[in-house]
C-alpha cells in the first residue's frame, strides 16, 4: 500500500512534469511568435477623415438584410475585440447571418488631436460616416449599433438625428452614470478631470489600462498568467491567449478635450439622462429616440454595471423596446462561448425582422431626399475625401 509520502511524492512529480511540459510548450511557441493576427474578417476602407476610418466588411450572404448596420465602438481600447479570431468573432457571426456591416475605427489620437472634442466625434466623424453610408446605399435611414462608450455615442447621435436611424442597438452601454455598482463610477466622482487634462493633454492609454486592471487586480495582473501556464496545452490556446493580450494592451490615448467632457458631463454630472447634455450646440433629448431599440447588457459586467445600462429603455419614447441580458462579463460578451452561440442570432434576428420593406423605402427615400434638399436648402449628403477601395486583409 502506498504511504502518504509516496502518494504525495507521486502527485508532486506529476505536477512538476505537467508544469514543465506547459512551460516548454509556451516558451517554444512564444519564442517563435513575434505577432498574432486579430481582426480577421476581410474589410475595405471606404472613407477616411483625420485619424478616423470607416470600413465596410465584405458581406458573406446577400439579400437577407438590406439595411446596412454601422457599428460604433468605444474610444477606449479597440474594436478588434469584436473580431478577435476564428470561432470568437461577433462580426464574423453577424456576417454569416447575412448582415451588411460598416465599422468606425477611431484610430490613435496624437498630440495634435488633443483638442478634438466629444462634439467632433459625434457631430462630425459619426455624422459623416452615417452620411457616407446613406449616400452610398441610397437610403434615408440606416441601422446603428453602439458598443460600450460607442453605445453612449450612438444613443446621443440617434437623439440628435432620429431621421437618419432606422433601428438602434446598444451593447454594454453606460447611460445612467449615477450608480454605486461600478468602481469607475465611484472613482471618477473624486477625480479632478480638468487638472488631469490640463496637465497630461491626451490621457495615456496605459493610464486607462492601469485603472481597468485595478478593478480586478489579482485576477488581471496575476491569476490570468498563472491560468495561462496551467491551460497552455497546445499552440492554438497559446495563440488565443496572445490575441487577448494584444487587444488588452492595444490602448489608444484619449483625446484630452473629449475625455474632459465625457467625464465631467456624463460620469460626474450624469447630464445625459437629465436632458442637460449639449452636443454641437444642441441639447440631447433621449425622448427623440422613437425607433425600435435593442438594449443588450452583461449581467456580470464590472466596467459598465447593469444598473447603468438598463434604464435606457425607459428613457426613450420608442414603443418597440427589447432589453436583453447575457450571464457574462463585459469582455465575455464578445468572446465567451455562450455569447458566440446566442448573441449574434439575437442581434441578427431582431434587426432583420425590423429592416423589411426597404425597397419601397429606398424609392421614397430618393424622392424625399431631393425634395428635402430643394425645400429646406439642405444637402442630403456631403462626402469628404472619398477614398479608393483599399483591401485591409
Amino acid at each position: 500500500m502506498e504511504s502518504l509520502f509516496e502518494k504525495q511524492t507521486s502527485h508532486f512529480l506529476s505536477e512538476i512534469e505537467n508544469c514543465s511540459n506547459h512551460l516548454n510548450q509556451i516558451t517554444e511557441t512564444l519564442l517563435k511568435t513575434e505577432d498574432v493576427d486579430i481582426a480577421i474578417s476581410p474589410k475595405d476602407l471606404v472613407f477616411q477623415e483625420d485619424t478616423m476610418k470607416l470600413y465596410h466588411f465584405r458581406p458573406k450572404k446577400k439579400g437577407i438584410c438590406s439595411v446596412p448596420m454601422l457599428i460604433t465602438y468605444a474610444l477606449v481600447n479597440r474594436e478588434t475585440m469584436m473580431d478577435l479570431e476564428e470561432g470568437r468573432s461577433l462580426i464574423s457571426n453577424l456576417l454569416d447571418r447575412g448582415l451588411d456591416i460598416y465599422i468606425i475605427v477611431w484610430g490613435y489620437p496624437k498630440r495634435i488631436d488633443r483638442y478634438v472634442t466629444l462634439d467632433d466625434y459625434i457631430e462630425i466623424y459619426m455624422d459623416d460616416c452615417v452620411e457616407y453610408i446613406r449616400k452610398a446605399r441610397g437610403l434615408e435611414k440606416i441601422n446603428l449599433m453602439g458598443v460600450c462608450q460607442g453605445g453612449t455615442f450612438s444613443t446621443i447621435y440617434t437623439a440628435l438625428h432620429p431621421e437618419k436611424i432606422r433601428n438602434l442597438i446598444t451593447m454594454v452601454t453606460p447611460i445612467d452614470f449615477d450608480t454605486d455598482d461600478g468602481l469607475l463610477n465611484i472613482w471618477s466622482r473624486n477625480m479632478d478631470v480638468d487638472l488631469m487634462v490640463d496637465t497630461l493633454g491626451n490621457i495615456p492609454g496605459d493610464f486607462m489600462n492601469l485603472g481597468f486592471m485595478m478593478l480586478k487586480p489579482f485576477q488581471l495582473m496575476m491569476d490570468k498568467y498563472i491560468g495561462f501556464v496551467d491551460g497552455a496545452k497546445d499552440t492554438a490556446r497559446i495563440e488565443s491567449f496572445l490575441r487577448m493580450e494584444k487587444w488588452i494592451f492595444d490602448s489608444p490615448d484619449q483625446a484630452g478635450e473629449a475625455f474632459r467632457k465625457f467625464l465631467n458631463e456624463l460620469f460626474k454630472k450624469n447630464n445625459l439622462i437629465k436632458g442637460e447634455l449639449e452636443i454641437g450646440g444642441k441639447k440631447v433629448d433621449l425622448k427623440k429616440i422613437h425607433m425600435p431599440l435593442l438594449n443588450i447588457y452583461a449581467e456580470q459586467d464590472h466596467l459598465v454595471p447593469p444598473s447603468s445600462s438598463k434604464p435606457l429603455g425607459d428613457l426613450v419614447s420608442s414603443k418597440d423596446v427589447t432589453t436583453k441580458s447575457f450571464p457574462v462579463g463585459h469582455i465575455g460578451m464578445y468572446v465567451s462561448s455562450k455569447s458566440q452561440k446566442e448573441l449574434s442570432p439575437t442581434i441578427a434576428d431582431w434587426i432583420t425582422q425590423r429592416s423589411s420593406g426597404i425597397e419601397k423605402e429606398k424609392a421614397t427615400s430618393r424622392q424625399a431626399t431631393s425634395t428635402k434638399a430643394t425645400k429646406k436648402n439642405h444637402p442630403a449628403t456631403i462626402l469628404k475625401r472619398p477614398v479608393k477601395k483599399i483591401s485591409d486583409q
Binding site: F12, Y115, V116, M191, T199, G201, N209, Q219, Y225
Partner: protein, 346 residues
C-alpha cells in the same frame, strides 16, 4: 511511479537532494524557488536571444507571474507546516496568535513582490515609479525627521504607536506633520521671492512644495492597501484552517492558492468601493498631477535656450490646427451646398 521517477528525478536530483528522506515533500522550503531559478535561467537565456515583440513581452509577464506564484507557494509550504500545530492549538489563543504572526511576517514578504512583474512594461514603469518614489520619500523622510521630531513632540508618541503595529498612527503623524509643514516650511516655499531670479526661485520653490505634498499623500493611500492586505490574510487564514494537512495534495495546494487570491480580490474590491479610499486615491493622483505640472513648468524654463518648441507652444499649434480643421469643414460644406444649388438652378 518508478517510470515517472526515472523520467523526472534525474534532472532535479541536485535540487531535490535536500528533502530526500524527510517525512513529507512539503518540508523543503526553497524547493520551488530553486526549481524556478533553474527554469528562469534556461528560459531567460532563450528569451534574451529572442526578438522583441508580443511573444517576448508575454513571456516576461508570464515569468513575472510565475515568480509571484513561486513566492506564494513557498509561503504556503511554510504555512501548511503549521497546520497540525494550528489544529492542536484551536482553543489556545496565544498559540494561534503566534502562528498567525509567523504567517503574517512571511506574507508581508510575498506582498512586497506582488506589484509589478506580471503587467505591461509601461504599467510596470508607472508602478515602479511610485514604489521608487516611496523609497526615496522614506530616505528623504529619514533625513528630514530629526528636526521635526525636535519641533513636534507629539510625533514621538505617534511613531512609538506605529512601531507597535498601529498603522493609524502613521496616518495621524502624517496629518500632524502636514499641518506643521503648511504653517512653517510650506509658507516659506509659497512666499514670494524677489530680485533678479524671482521667477526661477518661485518656480523651483513651488515645485519643491508640490513634491512634498505628493510624497505625503502616498502613505495615506498605502495605509488602506496595507490594511486590506492584512485583513485578507486573516480571512484566508481562517479559511485555510479548515483544510486537513493529511489530505493535502497538489490539487488542494491550488485550492489554497485560489482561496488566497479570491479572498484578496473580494477584500480589495470592498476597499475600492469605500468613499474614503476613493478620496485618498484622488488626493494622491491630484498631488501627482500638480507635481507633474510644476515639473513641466520647470523643464519649459530650462529648455528655453534650446532650439525646440515648448509644450505650451505645441499646444497652441494643436489648438490652431483643430480650429482650422473645423473652419475648413464648414467652408467645404458651404461650397458643396452652393454647388448643389447651382446644379438645380435651370
Amino acid at each position: 511511479m518508478e517510470k515517472q521517477e526515472q523520467k523526472m528525478i534525474q534532472p532535479w536530483m541536485d535540487v531535490t537532494k535536500f528533502w530526500q528522506g524527510m517525512e513529507t515533500p512539503f518540508a523543503g522550503p526553497d524547493f520551488f524557488s530553486k526549481w524556478n531559478e533553474m527554469i528562469q535561467e534556461t528560459i531567460g537565456k532563450a528569451a534574451g536571444q529572442s526578438k522583441k515583440g508580443l511573444g517576448s513581452d508575454v513571456l516576461s509577464r508570464t515569468m513575472g507571474a510565475s515568480n509571484v506564484f513561486v513566492a506564494l507557494n513557498e509561503f504556503w509550504l511554510e504555512a501548511l507546516k503549521d497546520l497540525p500545530e494550528l489544529h492542536r492549538a484551536k482553543r489556545d489563543d496565544i498559540k494561534t496568535r503566534k502562528i498567525f504572526n509567523r504567517w503574517s511576517n512571511g506574507y508581508k514578504k510575498v506582498f512586497e513582490q506582488l506589484v509589478g512583474p506580471p503587467v505591461s512594461g509601461t504599467a510596470q514603469e508607472m508602478m515602479t515609479f511610485w514604489l521608487n518614489t516611496i523609497q526615496k520619500s522614506q530616505a528623504a523622510t529619514g533625513l528630514m525627521w530629526n528636526p521635526w521630531f525636535q519641533a513636534i513632540p507629539q510625533l514621538q508618541a505617534h511613531v512609538e504607536k506605529f512601531m507597535k503595529g498601529d498603522w493609524t498612527a502613521l496616518s495621524e503623524s502624517h496629518s500632524l506633520w502636514r499641518e506643521v509643514y503648511d504653517e512653517t516650511l510650506g509658507r516659506v516655499f509659497r512666499m514670494p521671492a524677489f530680485g533678479m531670479t524671482k521667477e526661477q526661485t518661485e518656480r523651483l520653490k513651488r515645485t519643491y512644495d508640490a513634491y512634498i505634498q505628493f510624497l505625503y499623500s502616498l502613505p495615506n493611500l498605502h495605509q488602506f492597501l496595507y490594511s486590506a492586505g492584512m485583513e485578507a490574510l486573516k480571512e484566508a487564514f481562517d479559511k485555510v484552517k479548515k483544510l486537513k494537512f493529511e489530505e493535502m495534495t497538489p490539487e488542494s495546494m491550488r485550492e489554497v492558492y485560489k482561496i488566497w487570491w479570491t479572498t484578496n480580490e473580494d477584500t480589495f474590491f470592498e476597499l475600492f468601493k469605500r468613499p474614503d479610499f476613493s478620496d485618498a486615491m484622488a488626493e494622491a493622483l491630484n498631488h501627482g498631477l500638480r507635481l507633474k505640472m510644476r515639473l513641466n513648468d520647470l523643464s519649459t524654463d530650462w529648455c528655453k535656450a534650446l532650439p525646440i518648441p515648448s509644450n505650451q507652444e505645441f499646444e497652441e499649434v494643436a489648438k490652431t490646427v483643430h480650429e482650422l480643421r473645423r473652419k475648413v469643414r464648414l467652408q467645404q460644406k458651404s461650397i458643396e451646398q452652393l454647388q448643389q444649388k447651382l446644379e438645380k438652378t435651370p
